[in-house]
């Protein structure tokens, strides 16, 4: 139980120079290990399984950040999705890699809409999805989505009938290049507008449409510049 007084502590870089050098070598060697482990797999590798194979004193977050920086300008980047990490080709090189592209399964418009609803509203029940879309879900659309591996059944809602709730998977994050769910495009705007709630927000109101040509209190008349800039001038002949 008692630790030796001179227990080896991970030296901070500002210590003696030799320690600094040693720490760097150690970090380097651990970076190589992490690099190799992630590189070997085509699927994202979890932090848990990386940690399992590193020395106990390894600082995985620091290693990953270092690696991510090292690769940031390269043709291959280190990408986080959820708590998993993977090497992926740089986004700007898509043009040269089209040969590798896999024929994508075409999802129907309904299926994609459902996918978005599940991703943004999760956990969400089928009835709630239908409420948002205003239509009954056709048979098999959910099945198709489940088959993609992008959505999953999460559990059951604690309401009468205990309906199944749906949510997105890590594979979804990986496929769409999202670090985490918070990276969903437009999420903040939707949230801010109260559009991710299932019920009408308290303060939600639609301004009474104003038919009159007169401007409201919160409106300014157009200036001449505006008119030009916005292209509001009637079109003239060539």
């Amino acid at each position: 139980m008692s630790e030796p007084i001179d227990a080896e502590v991970v030296p901070f870089p500002h210590l003696v120079k030799s320690d600094e050098a040693r720490a760097e070598t150690q970090l380097n060697s651990q970076m190589r290990m992490v690099e190799a482990m992630i590189f070997a797999s085509s699927e994202p590798v979890s932090e848990k399984s990386l940690n399992e194979r590193l020395p106990d004193d390894a600082d995985l977050p620091a290693i990953l950040i270092s690696l991510q920086q090292t690769y940031s300008q390269r043709g291959v980047n280190l990408i986080r999705s959820g708590n998993n990490w993977a090497f992926r080709t740089a986004e700007d090189l898509a043009f040269i890699l089209q040969r590798e592209a896999v024929e994508q399964r075409r999802l129907s418009r309904a299926a994609l809409e459902m996918l978005a609803i599940i991703a943004y509203h999760q956990p969400v029940t089928r009835a709630e999805i239908e409420e948002i879309r205003g239509v009954v879900t056709s048979k098999g659309t959910l099945d198709v989505l489940l088959e993609t591996g992008w959505i999953r059944m999460r559990g059951r809602r604690k309401t009468p009938g205990r309906p199944v709730t749906y949510g997105s998977t890590d594979h979804f994050l990986d496929h769409f290049g999202l670090g985490e769910l918070r990276d969903l495009p437009g999420l903040d705007e939707l949230k801010g507008a109260g559009l991710l709630q299932s019920q009408l927000p308290v303060n939600f109101s639609v301004p009474v449409p104003d038919d009159s040509d007169e401007l409201g209190e919160d409106e300014d008349p157009f200036t001449l510049d505006d008119i030009e800039e916005l292209g509001l001038l009637p079109p003239t002949g060539d």
Binding site: R88, L97, A116, A119, Y120, I132, R133, F176, L178, L200
Partner: protein
């Protein structure tokens, strides 16, 4: 005639004047034009293929979708939309469709009824003691749902147009033959499990149905048998008498009788057979039609049958 155009969607109602060539074309191309992922719900293509039936409400994902498309023709931000004007537009649109005697799914009509109600609530001032939500509240609800749906449409669009794995971004093409993940030795997802279970139960439930299926004597079977006997039917003969051998199997009895009766009527129509019955539920007698017939009298009819 009314033509409304905007870049996001197009609704065109063209009245050619004679009321017959009235044509409604709806093209909804609001989402995902730039991606190949949307399976084309191309109402336009269908319209080209079948000019007589140029509106396909199926092209819409339900009444809310139709409302959203109509709302876009107001060319304003959804937050500034006039719900009253929108309700009127929807009702007009539905009316237009009904003039064409198109079958409309029930939910479109339900929405129409609700919008008509909403319209009245918006026009007539609310009663003070009314417990129901005010017209304005109802309008807000609808506006909220429209905005929420549009929000999801946009989100879906943003999502599919991201740089995507196996399309724009690629994983290691040649993973090394080592499995790095160590979650559990066996790998199965809940989906795998449920698919297996459902498929298994489904399969068994089907086999049950198959067992219950009954053997049937087809009309053609009956015709063949009647043809076989038609030469021997110079005289009136009870239908039972020559079906005897086919009636042995109890489960077949009904089918044999029904098909033979139907086939015999067919042969009567073709002038090859005559049928007679003294009263309801009495035995049926058949006879071949002779080429030159001496009309036979009822006295010749054998009466010794039960």
């Amino acid at each position: 005639m009314a033509t409304v155009r905007n870049p996001a969607s197009e609704i065109k109602v063209v009245d050619a004047g004679d009321g017959i060539d009235e044509e409604v074309t709806v093209a909804d191309s609001n989402i995902g034009e730039q991606t190949d992922l949307w399976s084309a719900t191309a109402p336009v293509d269908r319209a080209v293929a079948d000019p007589q039936f140029t509106i396909d409400v199926d092209g819409f994902e339900g009444p809310l979708d139709l409302l959203l498309t109509l709302a876009r023709t107001q060319k304003v931000d959804l937050t500034k939309i006039s719900i009253l004007a929108l309700a009127e537009q929807y009702l007009e649109f539905i009316e237009e469709l009904r003039k064409l005697r198109l079958e409309l799914a029930a939910d479109y009509l339900v929405m129409a009824a609700w919008l008509a109600y909403l319209k009245s609530r918006l026009i007539i001032p609310d009663m003070e003691e009314d417990d129901e939500p005010s017209g304005e509240e109802l309008a807000n609800q609808l506006a909220f749902r429209l905005q929420r749906l549009e929000g999801m449409r946009n989100a879906a669009n943003l999502l599919v147009n991201r740089n995507r794995l196996t399309r724009d971004v690629f994983a290691r093409g040649m993973p090394e033959p080592v499995i790095v993940e160590k979650r559990s030795e066996f790998n199965a997802t809940l989906y795998d499990l449920l698919t297996a279970y459902a498929a298994e139960r489904q399969r068994r439930s089907h086999s049950t149905v198959r067992i219950a299926r009954r053997a049937v004597w087809s009309l053609q079977d009956a015709r063949n048998v009647l043809f076989k006997f038609i030469g021997t039917m110079k005289d009136w003969a009870s239908i039972d008498s020559f079906l005897m051998e086919y009636l042995v199997e109890p489960s077949m009895r009904t089918s044999v009788m029904a098909s033979t009766f139907a086939a015999s009527l067919e042969l009567v129509r073709e002038g090859k057979l005559e049928v007679q019955q003294s009263a309801a539920f009495e035995p049926l007698y058949l006879r071949a039609v002779a080429p030159k017939v001496v009309p036979s009298s009822t006295e010749e009819m054998p009466g010794n049958h039960v």
